[in-house]
């Protein structure tokens, strides 16, 4: 055979072996074993391929591209390297179709036991950061009592009626629904359980969400009707628990965790909000609510720690203005904190989705 073979002809094995040295920095596994290598083509000394990730293209993924290109150039016989990036986000195996919203791949509830810890701010910035790196995202405000998503997103155009479903307003690429759109400004929702249950079902099933990679659901505080209805209506992908570092808040957050555990809903992790305060004048750091409480709670309970968001006047003003800070492109540390949070959440979703939910077969 060897007679006509050029001595420096490339073979696929050598290329894959080289790519096997490249790790996905979030999933800590090599990109070949993860099945990310698509359309591998060898043409003389020219190698082209697409790396298809299972989460949005966060800056960490650009590193993977650079590394892959570099390693491939070192393979003998390679003259040209062309690597492109793509992503495709899946649902958890076993939960693809058997529920109310089959076009929504992942549903992430943002919860906390306690009120006022910044659930909505975290939910909005999480949704924005996921969208910024390419994902198709929806944001459902399940906090009927204090709907704050319209203000935080600066989105005041109400939903409109479609032929069969409610068409949610779309702002900055994010589809939104909130009780805030259905109530006059100074009115309040004073409802008992069955009404809340119906609202959760309608917000999920009667809204035209279309194809979404992630639906972020902002929950009210507590462990009541809305949380229970949500966990009963759809197989939630998982819950992000928000807490301040304060013992009191963590104590109440542990109630929310206990609820999700009882309902077999995966805990994607705990995010620490109001982690510390950096004085804009002197730069001094003050740990107002203590520090590292959420990280410790994660270590104790075996949950992933999703990151820390500082207490900052900037977050507050941008929230009130409806200009979420995560929109910012620059290297502002706070905007980066939200990107890291989104990356940690997407990583946990991806790890979680790798374990199939066993289907229960029901025979009549």
């Amino acid at each position: 055979m060897g007679l006509f073979k050029k001595d420096r002809e490339l073979d696929e094995g050598a290329v894959l072996a080289a790519l096997q040295k490249v790790q996905d920095p979030d999933l800590n596994q090599d990109i070949v074993s993860l099945g990310f290598i698509k359309d591998l083509k060898l043409d003389g000394g020219r190698v082209s391929s697409t790396i298809e990730f299972n989460m949005p293209l966060f800056p960490s993924k650009r590193q993977v591209q650079l590394q892959a290109e570099e390693t491939l150039r070192e393979v003998p016989g390679v003259t040209d390297v062309l690597i492109s990036l793509a992503f495709s986000i899946n649902a958890r195996a076993g939960t693809e179709t058997n529920h109310l919203i089959p076009t929504v791949r992942n549903t992430i509830a943002v919860a906390s036991g306690k009120g006022g810890v910044g659930k909505s701010t975290v939910a909005v910035n999480l949704a924005v950061a996921l969208t910024k790196y390419g994902a198709r995202v929806g944001l459902m405000d399940a906090d009927v009592y204090g709907p704050s998503i319209p203000i935080l997103m600066g989105a005041f155009d109400p939903p409109s009626a479609g032929t069969a479903k409610i068409l949610p307003p779309e702002i900055r690429g994010i589809k939104l629904i909130s009780m805030g759109y259905f109530l006059p400004k100074d009115e309040a929702v004073i409802w008992r359980g069955p009404m809340l249950h119906k609202m959760v079902q309608q917000f999920l099933g009667d809204v035209d969400w279309g194809e979404l990679d992630y639906l972020v659901i902002d929950l009210p505080p507590g462990t009541g009707d809305i949380q229970l209805s949500l966990c009963q209506t759809i197989p939630l992908t998982g819950a992000v628990v928000v807490s301040t570092p304060q013992d009191l808040a963590l104590e109440v957050a542990s109630k929310a965790i206990a609820m999700f555990k009882r309902l077999n809903t995966p805990i994607l992790g705990i995010a620490e909000n109001m982690s510390y305060y950096a004085c804009p004048r002197c730069g001094n750091r003050d740990d107002i609510f203590g520090h590292g409480g959420a990280r410790k709670a994660c270590e104790k309970g075996g949950y992933p720690f999703l990151g820390e968001i500082p207490l900052s006047t900037l977050i507050r003003t941008r929230s009130d203005d409806g200009q979420p800070l995560a929109l910012e492109d620059g290297e502002s540390p706070i905007s980066r904190a939200f990107t890291d949070l989104a990356r940690a959440v997407a990583t946990q979703v991806s790890l979680n989705n790798a374990q199939a939910v066993p289907l229960i077969s029901i025979e009549e």
């Binding site: 966990c231 939630l236 009882r262 309902l263 809903t265 939910v357 229960i360 029901i362 025979e363 009549e364």
Partner: protein
């Protein structure tokens, strides 16, 4: 892995047969599951359940039987009964707790 059923047969010879993901298998008589319904109404007023065929079948509906079931989220099963009731949501852990098999019975007593 969290405890969950793998398969549920509603019309097995000995009632409702549940095969668990830890290998356990048991049959629940229909009447047992119906009387142990965890919904608020049934806890308050335990339901009257017919287990024998009706002597005047024109008037009755026959013995209690599950007519359908569906999975609720990641944690429970909802049964539909031929007496029209369906509001009971049975968490997996609860179903296992009331398992009538000899093994589970003696564990509970011991």
């Amino acid at each position: 892995m969290a405890l969950a059923p793998k398969s549920i047969k509603l019309s097995a010879p000995k009632g409702i047969e549940i095969q668990w993901n830890d290998g356990h298998q048991a049959s629940y008589p229909h009447a047992l599951l119906r009387t142990q319904c965890p919904c608020a109404a049934c806890r308050d007023h335990p339901p009257e359940v017919k287990t024998e065929p009706d002597p005047l079948p024109i008037y009755g509906k026959g013995p209690i039987k599950a007519t359908g079931a569906e999975q609720i989220g990641h944690y429970a099963i909802q049964f539909h009964w031929n007496d029209g009731h369906s509001s009971g949501i049975y968490p997996f852990a609860y179903l296992r707790e009331i398992c009538p098999c000899d093994e589970c019975q003696s564990k509970r007593l011991g």
